[in-house]
């Protein structure tokens, strides 16, 4: 099954993820998961201050400066993994460095 791991945490913590060894090519979590063959995709997101939220209502395109929900915790990055079942996804997510200071939401992807 494919799962998206949404990396959530407070802005300051998320900022530190930018130079986190979890990122691909730095010998950490992502590389380990690539070796295991479960890593499909992963990116870090730039700060929410740079986010723009778009809605279309009627003919109007409405723009808001910032994320769609103002909360203390925000999404700082994501990974897509493919593994056997939720137990394996939990084990993989628990190994992610952000799990120890923020949290990781595991979301199954729709399969066609």
């Amino acid at each position: 099954m494919r799962y998206m791991l949404l990396i959530c945490g407070q802005e300051s913590d998320i900022a530190s993820l930018a130079d986190d060894p979890a990122l691909p090519g730095r010998g950490g979590w992502a590389d380990e998961m690539k070796r295991r063959g479960v890593f499909r995709l992963g990116e870090g997101l730039r700060p929410v201050a740079e986010a723009t939220t778009v809605r279309v209502r009627g003919d109007e395109v409405l723009l808001t400066d910032g994320p769609f929900a103002e909360t203390k915790d925000l999404i700082g990055g994501f990974n897509v993994i493919e593994c056997a079942d939720l137990d394996e996804a939990i084990e993989i997510a628990a190994k992610h460095p952000a799990a120890s200071f923020g949290m990781i939401e595991i979301r199954p992807l729709w399969e066609q």
């Binding site: 079942d85 939720l86 137990d87 939990i90 595991i106 199954p108």
Partner: protein, 416 residues
Amino acid sequence: MSAEVEAAVAAAFREEWGQIVATLIRVTGDWDLAEECAQDAFTVALQRWPRDGIPRRPGAWLTTTARNRATDRLRREAVGAAKLREAAMMSSPREAGDDEVAVSGVRDDLLRLMFTCCHPALAFESQVALTLRTLAGLTTAEIGRAFLVPESTMSKRLVRAKQKIIGAGIPYRVPPAHLLPERTTAVLGVLYLLFNEGYAATAGADLMRHGLCGEAIRLARTLAELMPDEPEALGLLALLLLHDARRATRVDDAGDLVTLEHQERTRWDTAEIADGVHVLETALRRGRPGPYQVQAAIAACHATATEAADTDWAQIAALYGELARMVPSAVVQLNHAVAIGMAEGPAAGLALVETLDASGALAGYHLLPATRADLLRRLDRRAEAAAAYRQALELAATDAERHYLTRRLAETTNQD
């Protein structure tokens, strides 16, 4: 229909429902289909058994009937290649071989179902509801009544839980060794909660919903048989049996709570106590004590004392001390204080209760002021005792508890 057949179907339902559903879930991967086909099999049994006689192995007969029903339905409904493949796979006999292999396969299914229902990725209330529906065979309406929620709410809860199992990819299996200890704790926790829901309602006038106690004991016994190497499963079973043995004396004819001290011990179920003690001894021989075994040992101290005055409070206090080390919990500490109050006198108990009170860990829990009140009363500090009883009364959740506290309050204030 003869009473004999009716009784046989009822007994098969009690004993085989969970196994039939568990096997059907494995072969079809479809929880709703599994339940429906199990239900159908019992309906067919009600028609056929009076005519053909009760089969030698009712469980095997019912499982085969349910499987055939599932195969038929999947074939009929098969729209795509995937469904046809499933149906084809089902017709290949996976349980071929001698009876022993088949039986052990079926027992594995039951364990798989237990662990999947109690998977920690499901909300605790969903775990409980799923366990009652799929393992114990209670209807959605019955489960709703037991947990004081409308049937529609319970139905939605079950639908969501099953949807999550499939959608999120919760595996249908007994967890591998490295996950087993924590997942076993989760299963034991669900069964213990089930029992407690039946033993003492958390709200309202309905103090006893004994059906849940019986289901919890039956499932705990099954789990203990399926996991012979897990002494905590035996510990839980022993604990439930030893509590249940005192059930009849826990409230009086007026529905008022009777404390352990005042229960009519001759009405305790001695056979159930003997069973509980035997199960506990089997568990303790494994030499790996755990919280359920210690709690069962405490319950055994109470259940085997012929009179309240014979209770070995020093032993109970020591066991609560051990339990507090295993599971740091303020409620355990409160019980430890009660035992110390009995073993070493009310002043020693009160000192522990005051420390707990000051920590604020049990704020809002009626048994904290109730315990303080009892200790103060025994120290003859009546005005303080009365104030503590009043405080407990404000926090008590059930009518039976309120009646008990009101009575104690009256006794304390009338002694002048």
